[in-house]
Symmetry: C2
Subunit: 136 residues, 2 copies
DNA sequence: CAGAATCCTTAAGGATACTG
DNA sequence: CAGTATCCTTAAGGATTCTG
């Protein structure tokens, strides 16, 4: 694992170089990380990594997402090139969402973090409980 | 890569089971993913993965973070068990932040996404440009 | 040096009503 | 069915001032 982290100094230096005149917004890493942030993006990526879904199916799958956020999050994922939107001209219309190659590629990397979360969320929860107890 | 994704149906079912009565907040994956979201968390994790830093050093390293957000983000990372905070009782005091074992473990998984971002951010930017052009 | 406290602005997200 | 449009609430983040 040290092997993965050992070259991070240069990563930070790349970041500093890129961010240049305080223009941190151009940092490519942050740009992509923002793309998996947000309350619903990771969840919808997980769903679509399973198989393509239609709009209404996604609503039922994630019942507590508002329709507005479902629309908007799918739009953002499509804009980033992770999701493909296909309209079938039936009456009433049906729209299917699926991952693009880029989306699947990104999800492959993101998946490592999902696996870690499943294995280690108990440790995180325990850390929080310990910390909160120590504060009191 | 299909091998990684092939069992995601069960992941979604686990999620649905856990979220139970609409209690999506308890989804362990989202709980941990939130832990790498936020404007500064990934950046500070990258910095601390390089080596331990003191408060003021982190400020200089990430010059556009406000002092309030630096304090708060470090606090949150500490609470999640990713970061260790050590106070040296000098005058004036100095405080060093470093990754815990749990933090290094999490970063190992997160690092995959960072590497992906570095390799593919051009594709994401291109996708956005194409999408925006198509909208116009 | 490393913060705590306060106030303020912006952005994310939700609720509701309406439409092709 | 798959959205728009509008309004509203909450949460994230920033600026400023003060302190052990």
């Amino acid at each position: 694992m040290d092997g993965k982290i050992i070259n991070l100094k240069s990563k930070m230096e790349i970041y500093k170089a890129i961010s240049g005149g305080g223009n941190i917004a151009n940092c490519p890493v942050r740009d992509v990380i923002q793309g998996v942030s947000g309350k619903w993006r990771s969840l919808l990526m997980m769903a679509l990594a399973e198989k393509p879904y239609r709009f209404g199916e996604l609503r039922r799958l994630v019942p507590d997402i508002s329709q507005r956020m479902l629309t908007q999050t799918l739009y953002d994922l499509q804009r980033d090139g992770y999701v493909h939107r296909e309209v079938f001209p039936t009456k009433p219309p049906s729209v299917e969402y699926s991952l693009t190659d880029l989306g699947r590629s990104m999800f492959g990397a993101f998946h490592q973090l999902i696996l870690w979360a499943e294995l280690n969320h108990d440790a995180v929860r325990a850390a929080r409980a310990d910390f909160d107890a120590a504060q009191a």
